[in-house]
Amino acid sequence: MTRRYPDERVSDFPKPPAEIVDHEDREIAIRVLDADEAEDLVGMYLEFNPEDRAQGIPPVEEPQIRDWVDSVCIENGHSVVAWYDEDIVGHAMLVDDDTGAAELAVFVLRDYQGARIGTALCETLLGHAQTLGLERIWLSVERWNEPAIRLYQNLGFQRTEQETLELEMTMRLEPE
């Protein structure tokens, strides 16, 4: 299956690190994830509500969480994370596929959802992707997840109209 990407390129995303004050007046620091922060990322996913999973991720049990964080998020992925004090409360990553494109996934702890942290994470992740020279970005999202679909549309993702169970969206980035 060949994925269709828009002809138009999207650009001008903010680069990490970034500081935002979210809609609950919390000071959130957004930074590229360091490999030695793996344990903090595991910590976030241990707190993550299984009801907020998307298409089977993140895993629910601790051994699977550790394995997924290590092999997918850290080894194969480029990640930015949102810190509130000493805890990671949100995570967005790009994972390379076999075609030179990257798949995007983003997760925010329930208590921190709806506060624009997801948007800030994705914007800085895409800014980081521009720096890395990544051009083709895709994602899949459940068709009933309207807030997520709106977030992705606002970033500049377009639906590919694939006849898949999940909605697929793609973006072509301008490298910077």
């Binding site: 994972v95 006849e163 898949t164 169970l165």
Partner: protein, 120 residues
Amino acid sequence: MKVLLGVSGSENASYAMEVTLERLVGSEDDLSVAVYASDAATDIDEVHQQAREFIEAHDVTADVRRIEGDPASSLSDLAEREYDHLVMPGGSKSPTGKIQLDKVHQFVLLNAQLPVTLVR
């Protein structure tokens, strides 16, 4: 019960075959394996061969059938006409680990008039 396991060379096919065969041990169910090409890139001969090898390695009795024509509707039809239960691998994983179901899964889940189990 007659169980049909549908496989098409995905990474999860071996796992699904393993689990299905294990569950059959000691039961009175009969197993058939249906091989199909889920997309143009799939080499159905290879899938057929893998299925045969797997069955031989596990020393069980199971026949292997080849699905021709449109895989989704042909697999569904075959399952409905001749079997009591359709089993399939539960999808492949995207780079981030998200489960992806192909068009055959979707068609089967929405249309097949018999119990369907996805193995994960």
